[in-house]
């Protein structure tokens, strides 16, 4: 009855308003946690407008109207708007938020045919699929974590954490963000992810894995005691300090490159993250996921789905990736091409760009960890709090390791 009533009203609405503009309202969440940043939202707006321009060849007359929402307020804002029937037609967020939005029934799950699924790397699709098998949204691209530095102040970026420590002893200043998502890459260097994975699986880690986790926490603690290694609260602070010349090297996300490029120009150096004593860095990727709002009319829904389909086509994927050079495609046909081109431009090897698209153990661990913690923000807060206590020296590595395992197992620390 309810569906029939809505369908009738929507029919009347579309019948009565043939002259209304064909516009899809697109809400874009910021890529970093925290408040809205004007420059970033203007850039996002510009990117969505560019997509709309590309779209004109595909569907003339259809326009996209972007709005920006801070990641912290995304769910609250979407809930308020959706509760009034004024929700966006499309919501662009990360994988975690896409799952959270679906769980709170603020978005519609997407149904994909086999042909459509083939356009998206399975491992990316897996990150936006609920345990019930619902697809929260369509991954469009992914941002990778890199190291950004000022070539004038640091001619040679450190390839290993040991080299990083040496350079910091020589007066070079390094910056890290105090967030698990931002520090996750350092776990790879100590092969410490299996210990966390074991806790996540409600199992006790073996002695080796536990020792490696302790080694990682020891390194974190030792790094924080160094005068020239700074741990800041967020990525925005890191970027600002690199631009101001207070920091020489920071971890950064590919989504943030436009701001850094604009500020540092040819002095901006981009490289892969340093490896550790045991293994390579294991940076995680942030997915950009497009989800469907609940309030769209039938016509708006049709147009939204057509747009999503268009956006994962190889041509659109390649064009968007190479035009902005901030994200990597999720289409398996396009990803290697773009990866090769971008690696060549940055003079780094293809293999050193970790896209999180290959089904490796570290990718699986990262995905599982992010999915588990992303679904429960308070659990993520607890983990970050533990890391904070290590950095500020209020917890020993032993205590922190124990607390981490407890939190990962879903218990109160």
């Amino acid at each position: 009855m309810r569906a029939a009533l809505l369908a009738l009203l929507a029919g009347i609405a579309s019948g009565c308003n043939p002259g209304l503009p064909r516009v899809l309202r697109v809400a874009k969440s910021t890529t970093d946690p925290g408040e809205l940043n004007m420059e970033e939202s203007m850039r996002d707006r510009h990117v969505v407008k560019e997509v709309a321009t590309l779209l004109q060849d595909f569907d003339p007359g259809l326009r996209l109207h972007p709005t920006s929402i801070s990641q912290a307020n995304l769910i609250k804002e979407v809930r308020r708007q959706t509760g009034s029937g004024l929700g966006p037609d499309l919501i662009i967020s990360n994988g975690t938020n896409a799952l959270a939005l679906l769980e709170q029934q603020l978005t519609q799950p997407v149904t994909l045919t086999q042909k459509q699924k083939a356009q998206i790397t399975p491992i990316a699709l897996e990150r936006v699929t609920t345990p019930e098998g619902l697809i929260a949204g369509i991954p469009m691209s992914q941002y990778v974590q890199l190291a950004c530095y000022d070539k004038r102040r640091l001619p040679t970026p450190p390839p290993t954490l040991q080299a990083l420590a040496t350079a910091s002893g020589q007066g070079k200043v390094f910056g890290f963000a105090m967030h698990l998502e931002d520090l996750y890459w350092t776990l790879g260097g100590f092969a410490a992810t299996p210990a966390l994975q074991a806790s996540l699986d409600q199992q006790a880690p073996n002695a080796t894995d536990r020792r490696r986790l302790l080694a990682w926490l020891d390194w974190l603690r030792a790094a924080s005691f160094q005068q020239n290694v700074l741990f800041l609260n967020d990525q925005m602070g890191l970027r600002q300090q690199l631009i101001q010349g207070k920091l020489d090297w920071i971890t950064c996300w590919s989504s943030q490159l436009p701001q850094l490029r604009a500020a540092l120009q040819e002095h901006l150096g981009i490289t892969t993250l340093p490896s550790g004593p045991i293994g390579q860095a294991t940076p995680i990727t942030r997915l950009q996921v497009w989800t469907l709002g609940r309030n769209s009319s039938a016509q708006q829904r049709r147009e939204s789905l057509a747009l999503l389909q268009f956006m994962v086509e190889p041509w659109a994927q390649k064009t968007m990736a190479l035009k902005y050079r901030t994200s990597f495609p999720v289409n398996p046909q396009v990803a290697p091409l773009v990866k090769r081109q971008l690696a060549g431009e940055h003079h780094i090897s293809d293999d050193s760009i970790e896209l999180g698209l290959t089904d490796t153990e570290s990718t699986r661990h990262a995905n599982a960890l992010l999915a588990a913690l992303g679904a429960q923000p308070e659990q993520m807060t607890r983990v970050n709090s533990i890391l904070n206590s290590v950095v500020f020296g209020t917890r020993t590595s032993q205590e922190a390791a124990q607390a981490l395992q407890t939190v990962m197992a879903g218990k109160q620390p």
């Binding site: 009533l5 109207h65 709005t67 708007q81 009034s84």
Partner: protein
């Protein structure tokens, strides 16, 4: 001219685009349904009231809650059927909030009947409510961030976004509206602590108010992004502007500040304007508002008039004012008696000051009478007119009692013959009251008719 490069506007297409994007909501059935309820219900209630007796017609406070209450109930019904009803709830709450001003007024007046609730509502509460309602509505439409960030103008190389302009306008309004309260408090405090007189307090209050507004405007300018360099540019622009067009405005403003410091034209002062005593009501930025005692007319006089021209004040150093009443008495009355009588009459009036004492003088031997002038002092200059009237009445009555006559010239017209056959002259004998004094007829050769 010089302002043009400093103030350049940016085409506001983005605003139009944002507003047009709201039209897409009209393609959604659920939005149309909610709008139908929101618009239809008030219309239905109005129509129903026309044809039926309102159930709570004697209780307006409760009656005003019916409409919003119904909207909120319908919104709850939508929620029950899992339909989006937030728009109905929003307008229901908005309507309820607006209608709550009526009970609020009743409540405030119940506790304090002299509370300026109308002024508070119209100048502060309702405007603030409208501002908040506008912002929340735009936010509900998902456009607050977009609209706030749209650059619409560039002022002194500072890009002004719509949000900044809106915030600045609201802040300036609030500062100007609310500034009087802390200023009044500071003036009251100065009166309590330093014993500043009531009249000086009003002047101080204005000075404090201008200071609060000045500091507030500077803060708003800094918030908007106009820094010291921009202020220098503004000062440069103003100096040219003052030379051409705004000289009078600036002159009046500076005059008002100066007059406040000098304390010569403060609210409550009594000034003579064109021979009429007027009370200063308000010293504004451009003009002073005065109330003329004679007819209650409100006068708006540019401040620089007081600054550059002579003004008569009755309250500059002291408030008492001397006034006079002129009266004539017949020649055969002893002037000493009349003078004593006049002084007695003045002394008996309670509004006439005892010191300096009232004095009467013989001022003229006129054609028909000996003229006297009674000089007296009153404490409140605005009362001199009514005191003069009261004294004249008392003099008339006392003259009547004492048999003193007030003569006046009387003209007799005779027919064109000479000598007149029944010429009459009126004697000047007493009997009190007013007696006419005869005039000799003009010789025929000097009459107007003969000349004509």
């Amino acid at each position: 001219m010089t302002m043009l490069p400093l103030l350049s506007t940016v085409a506001p297409e983005a605003i139009v685009e944002e507003l047009l994007s709201w039209l897409v909501y009209l393609q959604r059935g659920v939005v149309l349904l909610q709008l139908a309820v929101v618009i239809g219900l008030p219309l239905f209630i109005r129509r129903w009231r026309r044809h039926h007796r309102a159930p709570l017609r004697n209780r307006p406070n409760l009656q005003s809650l019916i409409g919003p209450g119904l909207l909120l109930l319908i919104s709850a019904g939508f929620h029950l059927f899992q339909l989006p009803g937030g728009l109905i709830r929003y307008f229901g709450l908005l309507w309820l909030g607006w209608n709550l001003f009526t009970p609020l007024k009743t409540l405030l007046l119940h506790f304090n009947s002299s509370f300026p609730v109308d002024e508070l509502q119209s100048t502060f509460l309702k405007p603030v409510y409208v501002i908040l309602a506008t912002l929340s509505f735009i936010r509900l439409l998902g456009s607050l961030e977009n609209l706030a960030r749209i650059p619409v103008a560039s002022l002194f190389s500072v890009e002004l976004s719509l949000g900044k302009i809106y915030t600045a306008i609201v802040a300036v309004y609030v500062i100007i509206t609310v500034a009087s309260r802390p200023a009044a408090f500071m003036a009251w405090l100065s009166g309590q602590i330093f014993g500043v007189k009531e009249q000086n307090r009003k002047g101080m209050e204005l000075l404090f108010r201008y200071s609060v507004i000045g500091v507030g405007l500077l803060a708003v300018a800094y918030y908007v992004g106009i820094d010291g360099t921009a202020f220098i540019a503004i000062a440069g622009g103003l100096s040219v502007g003052i030379g051409f067009g705004t000289k009078e405005i600036i002159s009046n403003f500076i005059s008002s500040i100066w007059l406040l410091f000098e304390g010569s034209v403060r609210p409550g002062e009594i000034l003579m304007i064109n021979g009429d005593p007027c009370t200063v009501r308000k010293l504004g930025l451009r003009a002073t508002q005065l109330r003329r005692g004679r007819d209650g007319a409100e006068l708006l006089i540019p401040n620089q008039i007081f600054f550059t021209e002579e003004a008569t004040s009755f309250t500059a150093a002291e408030t008492s004012r001397r006034d006079s009443v002129d009266v004539g008495a017949a020649y055969h009355h002893d002037p000493e008696e009349v003078v004593a009588l006049l002084e007695t009459v003045a002394t008996e009036n309670k509004l006439v000051l005892a010191y300096p004492p009232p004095q009467a003088f013989v001022i003229e031997f006129a054609d028909s009478s000996v003229n006297y002038r009674l000089l007296f002092w009153v404490g409140n200059p605005l009362q001199s007119f009514s005191v003069g009237s009261a004294l004249r009445q008392a003099i008339w009555k006392r003259f009547e009692e004492q048999g003193i006559t007030i003569p006046f010239p009387q003209r007799q017209v005779y027919p064109m013959q000479w000598p007149p056959q029944d010429a009459q002259t009126l004697g000047l004998a007493g009997g009190g009251g007013v007696v006419a004094q005869s005039e000799q007829p003009e010789p025929p050769g000097q009459s107007e008719e003969a000349n004509g």
